[in-house]
Symmetry: C2
Subunit: 388 residues, 2 copies
């Protein structure tokens, strides 16, 4: 089955061979989908024949969003905590524990229904690739459950047993790390691709974080790190030293952090939904990009610090409050996310890539920031199949 998507006013390919800038933007363009892959990209007038033709109606097409940071397997929500925080309470990482209790109490099927609901919601908003972390189980059996359920729906599964120290290990964080790098890692590694740790005051120290990451690497998992969300720390440099694919949050970065990131292959994944929902200052993405750091955008969908699942919302905030251009923000939400997952088959519209495409109900990608909050995703293809 071949499908020609034609009459595209603005096509963001992210194929650096197409243009001097990284967005590889074409106008009056067409894309041929063959099975699950992109087979051809070019000008409308040069388009090959296809079994099915879809007229984009002079709208914009972008790659499907690659959301490289989410926590979608959990029970309950924390709407009242959000409301209290907006009335003046400060965000504390410890709130995670209330979600841990609700998650442990939920059945596999209840978690599955919720998870699939979020994935449908994300697809409808243009997200075709999603990474999912554990971290609300915090026992061997519950963490295993979460990575196993996540692995049913995505290959991008991250074991985050070291999300926070659970209540039953209060004041015994090192004992909890023993559990994480021992029996918990044994149970979770078969389902996971990534090892992650929340390296932050109130969560895990740098030596504890190093233990977790090195244990995961020894088991064949690749590292990624949560760091510098609530204040400056050494997590970013640890991530760079260990060759992490991504370090996530980066709300509080030092000049040394930025220099280290710029000289590395580690992507910095910014999570504007967190700053929105915890009312922290937004990171200055402009400064980071100008310094040579590779930036991704992700939602960090979770019930505590960021319950959005909307990549368009994150793009709008990145443009308004973080100094990114619309082109940079869309790149960061597609190719940037792919880089943060070390994937070259998504986040790009080029021959051989997965046919993950979003047709916007707008003539340009600028509209994702220009029309904040408006659902502008008109149609979505994942692996060449129309899904929303």
């Amino acid at each position: 089955m071949t499908t020609l998507l034609t009459n595209i006013a603005e096509l963001t390919t992210n194929d650096p061979s197409r243009t001097a800038d990284p967005t590889g933007t074409l106008h009056d363009a067409a894309v041929l989908i063959d099975g699950g892959r992109v087979a051809w990209v070019g000008a409308v007038g040069d388009a090959p024949d296809a079994e099915e033709v879809v007229d984009a109606g002079r709208r914009a097409v972008i790659p499907g969003f690659v959301d490289s940071h989410s926590h979608l397997v959990f029970g309950g929500d924390r709407a009242e905590e959000f409301e209290a925080r907006m009335a003046g309470q400060k965000y504390a990482a410890g709130g995670i524990r209330s979600t841990v209790a609700a998650t442990r109490a939920a059945s596999d099927d209840a978690l599955r229904v919720r998870l699939r609901g979020f994935l449908g919601e994300m697809l409808a908003q243009g997200t075709t690739t999603v990474e999912i972390k554990s971290g609300y189980g915090l026992s061997v059996a519950d963490e295993e459950r979460l990575v196993r359920l996540a692995a049913e729906v995505t290959p991008e599964v991250t074991f985050l047993g070291a999300h926070v120290v659970p209540a039953e290990y209060a004041d015994r964080a090192d004992d909890y790390v023993d559990l994480v790098v021992g029996p918990m890692l044994d149970a979770c590694a078969p389902h996971a691709k990534w090892i992650d740790v929340f390296c932050e005051t109130g969560a895990f120290t740098v030596p504890q974080s190093r233990r977790v990451l090195e244990a995961g690497i020894a088991r064949g998992l690749a590292p990624r790190v949560h760091a510098s969300q609530l204040g400056p720390g050494e997590g970013v440099r640890l991530a760079v030293e260990l060759g992490a694919a991504s370090v996530d949050h980066g709300t509080y970065l030092t000049d040394d952090d930025i220099a280290a990131l710029a000289a590395s292959d580690t992507v910095l994944t910014l999570l504007p939904g967190v700053e929105f929902s915890t009312r922290q200052p937004y990171p200055d993405a402009r400064r980071l990009i100008d310094a040579g750091v590779t930036v991704a955008l992700a939602c960090d969908t979770n019930p505590g610090s960021s319950f959005t699942s909307s990549m368009p919302f994150c793009i709008a905030i990145a443009v308004r409050d973080m100094g990114m251009t619309p082109a940079e923000a869309v790149w960061a939400a597609t190719a940037g996310g792919a880089g943060a997952l070390r994937r070259d088959d998504v986040g790009i519209i080029a021959p051989g890539a997965r046919a993950d495409l979003v047709l916007l109900d707008a003539p340009t990608r600028i509209h994702l920031a220009y029309r904040p909050g408006v659902p502008l995703v008109r149609r979505v293809w994942k692996d060449g199949v129309p899904v929303a």
Copy 2:
């Protein structure tokens, strides 16, 4: 035809007879719709029989949004101006003139298609009542066209010939005001309910604004005013003096403005999409509410300063950046908007009110801010008819 909407986890009625606070919130509630009106509101266990029963599935129901400020009849867009502004250029009211040129060049049918597209988009986002202003014609024939087209879709039509001085009247603003209060008002008044003016440096002076408003009032139109968007001025006090239903923007208010509003029946309509899209400071709604000002929220959908049509987005910004509680923001976007239009049949779920209801895909209204950008509108009834 009667419909019972039942099993509502949280019902925001805005009926002040229900609770001590103005939201009139009920839990485990049901609403009976009879024809286009609400016939009964109460506890699930007390609900009367109905021909049709809709199970809300323990989700939240709120009144349809009342968006009391929009400019939906126009041609073209200004995405590139937005992009340039985000790269550092300042917003100037003069940009309106490019939309005037595109609007004058568009046919009635082209404007109608666009207008109906926006209305559909708004309905899908829960907006069941919308006010529409002219102001992109700025000639007798074109302003008449815009109010006539607006009147095809809403009773809440506002004649805003005094939106900006058109290029052909540069340096002859008083001559343009003569046109507005003379032949233009003659042509537009039969289609309109409201008279409006942009009282701001760069648009119209206080004496010019007074002339426009008083001329409209003399023709039976009720006043509303754009003021204090770009800096402090005397527009708010003029609006209060003339008994305007609403003064809109209010980004820069003096203590005297706030005192005048608090002592008046004039609603202050805040437009967070404008501050978002022009990168101006958000107004401090907390201070205004605490001072006794009645606050509404609206989108100000227009191609220059605010192209969102999403009331949920405005609510999220109002909570995060303007100090409103979720309950206050939802009230402002429903009952507040109704007050700004002097309507008592919308923005409320009570016997006799129009059956304009929104079923959220969430258990509470808090989720509108807690899950920013996520389309949470599951089902919408307008005049008792399911429309989205």
